[in-house]
Symmetry: C2
Subunit: 465 residues, 2 copies
Amino acid sequence: MIVFLKDLFNNPLLYENKKIFLKGWIRNCRFQKKLFFIDFNDGTFINDLQIVCKKDKNFFLEKIKKKLQIGASIEIEGFLVKNFKINDIFELEAEKINILGSSSFEYLIQPKNHSKAFLRKIPHLRLRTKIFGSVFRIRSAVFLAIHEFFKNEDFLLTNTPIITVNDGEGAGDLFQITTLNLEKLVLTKDKKIDYLKDFFGRKTFLSVTGQLELEALATSFNKVYSLGPIFRADNSNTIKHVAEFWMLEVEMAFSNLEKNMEIIERMLKKVVKSCLLTNQNDLKFLDENESPGLIKKLNEFIGLKSFPKIKYKEAMDILIKSGVDFEFKPFHGSDFYTEHEKYLTEVHFKSPVFIIDWPKEIKAFYMKINPDKKTVACVDLLVPFVGELVGGSQREENLEILKNRMKELNISSENLEWYLDLRRFGSCVHSGFGLGFERLLIYLTGVENIRDVIAFPLSSKSINF
Amino acid sequence: MIVFLKDLFNNPLLYENKKIFLKGWIRNCRFQKKLFFIDFNDGTFINDLQIVCKKDKNFFLEKIKKKLQIGASIEIEGFLVKNFKINDIFELEAEKINILGSSSFEYLIQPKNHSKAFLRKIPHLRLRTKIFGSVFRIRSAVFLAIHEFFKNEDFLLTNTPIITVNDGEGAGDLFQITTLNLEKLVLTKDKKIDYLKDFFGRKTFLSVTGQLELEALATSFNKVYSLGPIFRADNSNTIKHVAEFWMLEVEMAFSNLEKNMEIIERMLKKVVKSCLLTNQNDLKFLDENESPGLIKKLNEFIGLKSFPKIKYKEAMDILIKSGVDFEFKPFHGSDFYTEHEKYLTEVHFKSPVFIIDWPKEIKAFYMKINPDKKTVACVDLLVPFVGELVGGSQREENLEILKNRMKELNISSENLEWYLDLRRFGSCVHSGFGLGFERLLIYLTGVENIRDVIAFPLSSKSINF
């Protein structure tokens, strides 16, 4: 029976002084005169297990010594013992070691601090380092914690289409999808593409949001969410942007903006709390090696009474009156830049902050117009270190107002008659939000670059898998 | 405080004779001389709650009577009472009803049996019917049951890239992704596309499998899985094929084909068992209205001792010797057609069956070559009613054999050096499988057409969202 390191470290007494079998990889090895040490890991836990081989006892060692290289995979048989000399740490006294898969001096993951820029060039191998190990164990746990939260709240898990005819109404630049042979394209007389010949018979894109479809699901099932991949063909090569990422989208019938914020805050606190509990060891490693103060920050987050809520107008006033010499001068009607978000969350409020009631001109067509007719009932949650983490709104449920708004903005209803149907038949007040999953991970892991919380990240001019 | 139907029906005694508030939709309404009945549903439960309005008591009724139309959304205040005349059923005696969103005679979902073909034309509204309600509540629960299984088994949840440069090595036809302006394409001198100008600087596709990347994750984290969307540009417009679907992919280090099958079987039984428990009411509805014998079938499935395992060769012999006049004559070396799968699972074995050790010619390059050098260590799980539900294999972990196999098949290693690295550094025996999530849903719901277990299904020449 193979023992996994996770089980072994979580309950070493169960295995103490017993013969156990392990399979995994050599992370490091050191020869001494009479002893030979291996730092062993099977990928299930942050800490390595030290394997001790006594040379006199282990006649087999000489035979395989040359193959005991960093990166090799091995199977081990031995006894788990407590080392009373070194902090009562548990280690394995090896009886037998077999090489399963060799390594070589060309193996790029050595037991030292590689730069993240270097590791980004070898995503298939960087996953074997401690830091990426921690990050991706947290990623897995947070994904599941989100599902658990919504399960307990009786939300229905749904999936919205990835391929769509909807151009997202300006939510971002789009990838086009086609099966046409681009090298042999024949244009029509008026120099257009004949999309009737394309796979779907129409021009299609990768979805930038599943929100509109989620509204159909919410007016059928009441409270729904989805957690799926989302695509942006923006050329912005910042540490916060990639072409493919995962997004949590939530939609609730019979719910207004207030309810929206209540769920956002409760969900985030629950997920952070769950992470602190589930990923103690990974967070400890990241706190010590990557982001000092991480655990304190997360504990403060869940201890916050409630996130402050201010109107866009007030937030803009704070920035304008701050006296700070921003690179981009803040003014009423403009969006917030990173420096503004930083000032609001890290200097002024020193906490996450909900910003509501934005000018309708800089927000999407489907948002509920406020009684002032100038602003919309929407919310952005800004968070220290991350910036915008969540964006949500109450949706316009009034058919005539929505149609007028679309006319104003020159949005054709051709592809959206079904969306208008949701207002024609049993319309209701409803709200929802989207949360960039990787941005939440940036907050939770303290890792700064979004490319380091995605196993195989994709950016403009950068794809290798 | 709003009460949800799910909570009300699961524990009616908690609400009996109490005043409660509800928000939801009118599914049907009937006028009688002194009474008025509404079948009410808020989307959280299969059964409607009957709302009883006594005309004399409810002076408000006359005012809103015209607006009480099927499909309208309403809020209700009233008392939950037991109707001793009709099987002690619970119903609500309404005190007050408000129309929140009206409906009209044009509303297409009427309280009668609409054909599925008709409903497929209005996916945004069909979700409000009982049958689609059941199907999508099951979809949600099964999704979560899969996550729960792998969480309990200590697998790491991961995500593999959707956009890829990998052409999938024949796993299916591909969608191309581009940001080039197709109407203004300029070809190079040798009539090629200059992909340096495309978003990623290379030709890119929608992924047909994340398996190769999962192998990198498994050799880092030991046991991993992913559950994400997968795309096929096949033109086959059958009831089992769509262009976009979800796939569970699993990969395990230090595991052979036998272990693979053990996990597949245990996982499926666990998920079916969980569905029988969680979705009792939905399954009962489907059993009575869509697929007679469904619950019996599922109970038999979890009661099976263990699925039979036979070699491809034996399966082919069974077909050849069956004496059945198949449309496609079975012969050694050919793949199985639907009629063959049906014979094996529904006539011969009357159970799911693992078919292992297929001829290497009809399987993928990465599968482990068996000692006979003719077959590969792979498995398809065929299931009655569904056909192929799972496909998996042990992967070739030997660098030289894998390289030779790629050479034989003319597969360039240019994009796959990273994949070969997994064999260069700490290679190990490893196995994995893929399960078509919607095919599992077809089995669990008894719904025949894959377009009816996906909220917004996409097929060749068919996209509206």
